[in-house]
């Protein structure tokens, strides 16, 4: 193998031709390409292995199930006959993730914007450091903090919310009890995903092209108008990716939600009342004592969560792909 550089397509004096596809013939480059390709393939293989495992292990319970898997709310896979369904799990997971996103995305983007473009250098680095520190807190600590500190502190707010906003059916509360609800779980999840969204969005904002920023300012735009015209279009795919990562964490958050929720298997639209259960919390709470069909049923619920996360990510990719044509940053 030659160790000298040959331009692609050229014929060397000894008659051999370099590869005309443009790939380098240097060994180091080949190894690097191989490693990168191998890493990509490894990820795909891992995902495929997980999917196959989930499908394989969930088959026994799906065969033994006597109830409709998608519309039943009860969870009794170890009863004879087995009957269980994911309706309540889907509701709980989607509602808590939705509340977390509604609260965390605007705040996260706001923090990122402030750090990237409005704050002084020192304040920006301190704030960035503190936000990233929030990401390092273990999730069980969040669960314990949620139960012991946040819930009592939020009682007043919950009472105010249910008194003045009960014309929205979501905020009605017939029981007068405001603990262990989907609302509180959503708020804690929002705090947990905030650092993820904020850190990635911050990086994207910082990389907006200076020319566009200065052009907008030169044309007389205010700071906010400059942000809207020059930064947001450029950063939109990044913001959506950050939100998707945050959503992924919110959907799969296990132990914090297991400690916070009251684990009732029903679809209760009054989200300030106690109750609710999510996929991951269900697995955490039921795993230890589950029998064979019970374990298989938990894996089946894991498969549904896997599919939901996949669908949400694909939807996000579609949104990014569509919007990038109109972003004006290309």
């Amino acid at each position: 193998m030659s160790t000298t550089l040959e331009p692609a397509g050229a014929t060397a004096p000894d008659g051999t031709t370099a590869d005309i596809k443009g790939a380098s013939v240097r060994r180091g480059d080949r190894v690097f390409v191989g490693l990168s390709r191998g890493s990509g393939i490894l990820i795909l293989v891992t995902m495929a292995a997980i999917a196959v495992f989930l499908i394989w292990k969930s088959i026994p319970s799906l065969q033994a199930n006597t109830a409709n898997f998608f519309t039943t709310t009860e969870w009794a896979p170890d009863a004879k006959p087995a009957y269980f369904g994911i309706a309540a799990l889907v509701f709980g997971t989607v509602m808590t993730a939705l509340i977390a996103m509604v609260l965390a995305v605007p705040v996260g983007i706001g923090i990122a914007l402030f750090i990237a473009h409005y704050a002084s250098k020192r304040l920006a680095s301190t704030l960035g450091f503190v936000t990233d520190l929030l990401a390092a807190v273990p999730s069980i600590i969040f669960g314990m903090w949620g139960i012991q500190f946040l819930t009592p502190q939020l009682q007043g707010f919950m009472q105010w919310l249910t008194t003045y906003f009960s014309w929205i059916p979501l905020f009605q509360n017939d029981l007068g009890i405001y603990t262990r609800s989907i609302m509180i779980a959503g708020i804690v999840l929002a705090i947990m995903v905030l650092p993820t969204i904020s850190a990635i969005t911050r990086e994207v904002f910082v990389q907006a092209p200076r020319m566009h920023i200065e052009a907008a300012l030169a044309l007389g735009a205010t700071r906010w108008e400059m942000v809207r015209m020059a930064i947001f279009p450029f950063a939109r795919p990044g913001m959506i990716s950050a939100s998707m990562l945050g959503l992924g964490r919110a959907l799969g958050e296990t132990i914090a939600v297991a400690l916070l929720l009251s684990a009732t298997y029903d679809i209760n639209w009054h989200i300030t009342e106690p109750g609710g259960i999510t996929f991951a919390a269900n697995i955490a709470l039921k795993w230890n004592e589950a029998g064979t069909i019970g374990l298989s049923a938990l894996v089946a619920s894991g498969l549904v969560l896997f599919v939901i996360t996949l669908a949400v990510n694909m939807a996000a990719r579609l949104i990014i792909a569509r919007r990038s044509d109109f972003s004006g940053a290309n």
């Binding site: 009890i177 603990t179 297991a258 929720l261 009251s262 684990a263 039921k286 230890n288 029998g291």
Partner: protein, 365 residues
């Protein structure tokens, strides 16, 4: 290569430290039958190392016992992981552990699999730790609360919703009950405690409790908390609340506990009263397999009790594990070990039942 004086000193220190660690004693996994000097009188020491896992109900009792055994016998290591009865049985069937702790005896498929795991004999259930499940409450001003099974069933199935309900007042003459909603707590995770509590309610409360017994809580209403500690903490921090926990958790958290009246007078939820119920349980199971049927309607002892079984092989356990398993279980069945249980809120096995338990342990080979 230039090595400065400081670097040389550091290198020598590190190498010396590593070399000296080699002088430490070997952990040792081979079993030998020597008894160690200075051991307590009821421990016939065996060195070796075994793993066990299972019920969380007996977690504190096991911790006490393994500590005591390991202190008396320096060469022994017993590692008990409280990861739940179901997980414990699975670990035992998969040959990961020498014995499993379970809140209910082996049945159905698990029994078949466990018998298969024990190469040359059946798997046996040996009751070792009793426990009482109590209704712990937090109502200021109420020092003594008496509840009948029907009242408990009503409170926990959401049909009795206020503390000053006439039915509760009828059982508690002279006690001022507040006009407040009952905040009821149950377990959000699967547990043997829930299973035994619902078994008690189904047997004793008659038509007031319509739900089948299960490890998962089925009745409507109330709030779920994770684990005995979660329910205990919730009761402690919520006024006008009630929930069911193990007696040891109620004692640790200093919660008030309700007296239970099964028809023969109110009985205080203590270890001694619960021991009477455990001792009077009907013994089932063949040979050395001891499966207890508790009389939940008893009027002479505290009725809501549970028993944790140690599940192991009568014959067929790996020969390296047999000596230490047998020695440890002999210790736990001894008067000294059972005597430790009452002070931590557990319930000892007593009388004829204890004799049968010791005979089962002696048959392990």
């Amino acid at each position: 290569m230039n090595i400065t004086g400081k670097a040389r000193l550091a290198a020598i220190t590190i190498v010396g430290a590593i070399a000296l660690t080699a002088c430490g004693s070997d952990g040792g996994t081979s079993a030998s039958g020597t008894s160690s000097a200075g051991g307590s009188s009821s421990v016939n020491c065996v060195s070796g190392s075994i793993k066990a896992s299972g019920s969380t109900a007996q977690k504190n009792a096991m911790a006490d016992w393994t500590n005591a055994y390991q202190q008396a016998c320096s060469g022994a290591t017993i590692d008990y992981q409280a990861n739940g009865s179901g997980a414990g049985i699975k670990d035992f069937i998969n040959k990961q552990t020498a014995f499993a702790g379970s809140d209910s005896a082996l049945k159905d498929q698990d029994k078949t699999d466990a018998d298969a795991r024990c190469a040359s004999g059946p798997a046996i259930d040996i009751p070792m730790v009793g426990g009482a499940i109590v209704a712990a409450y937090n109502v200021s001003g109420v020092d003594k609360l008496i509840l009948t099974p029907e009242l408990i069933a009503g409170i926990f199935s959401n049909s009795i919703t206020k503390w000053n309900d006439p039915k509760i007042a009828a059982a508690n003459a002279g006690v001022t009950l507040p006009d407040a909603t009952i905040a009821q707590f149950h377990r959000s995770d699967s547990s043997g405690t829930t299973d035994n509590w619902t078994k008690y309610l189904k047997a004793a409360a008659g038509s007031a409790w319509t739900f089948d017994h299960a490890k998962d809580w089925k009745a409507p209403g109330g709030q779920g908390a994770k684990g005995n500690d979660g329910v205990g903490a919730a009761i402690k921090s919520t006024p006008n609340s009630i929930g069911y926990v193990e007696l040891s958790f109620a004692l640790n958290n200093k919660l008030s506990t309700a007296w239970v009246d099964n028809g023969g007078g109110a009985i205080e939820p203590t270890s001694a009263n619960a021991a009477k119920t455990v001792a009077s349980a009907t013994v089932g199971g063949s040979g050395n397999d001891i499966v207890l049927t508790i009389d939940y309607k008893t009027t002479t002892g505290y009725p809501a009790v549970l028993v944790t079984y140690e599940i192991t092989c009568e014959k067929g356990l790996d020969s390296a594990l047999v000596p230490l398993t047998k020695s440890f279980l002999t210790y736990t069945a001894s008067d000294e070990a059972q005597g430790k249980l009452s002070s931590t809120g557990y319930v000892p096995i007593t009388g004829d039942l204890l004799t049968k338990v010791r005979a089962s342990v002696a048959s392990i080979s």
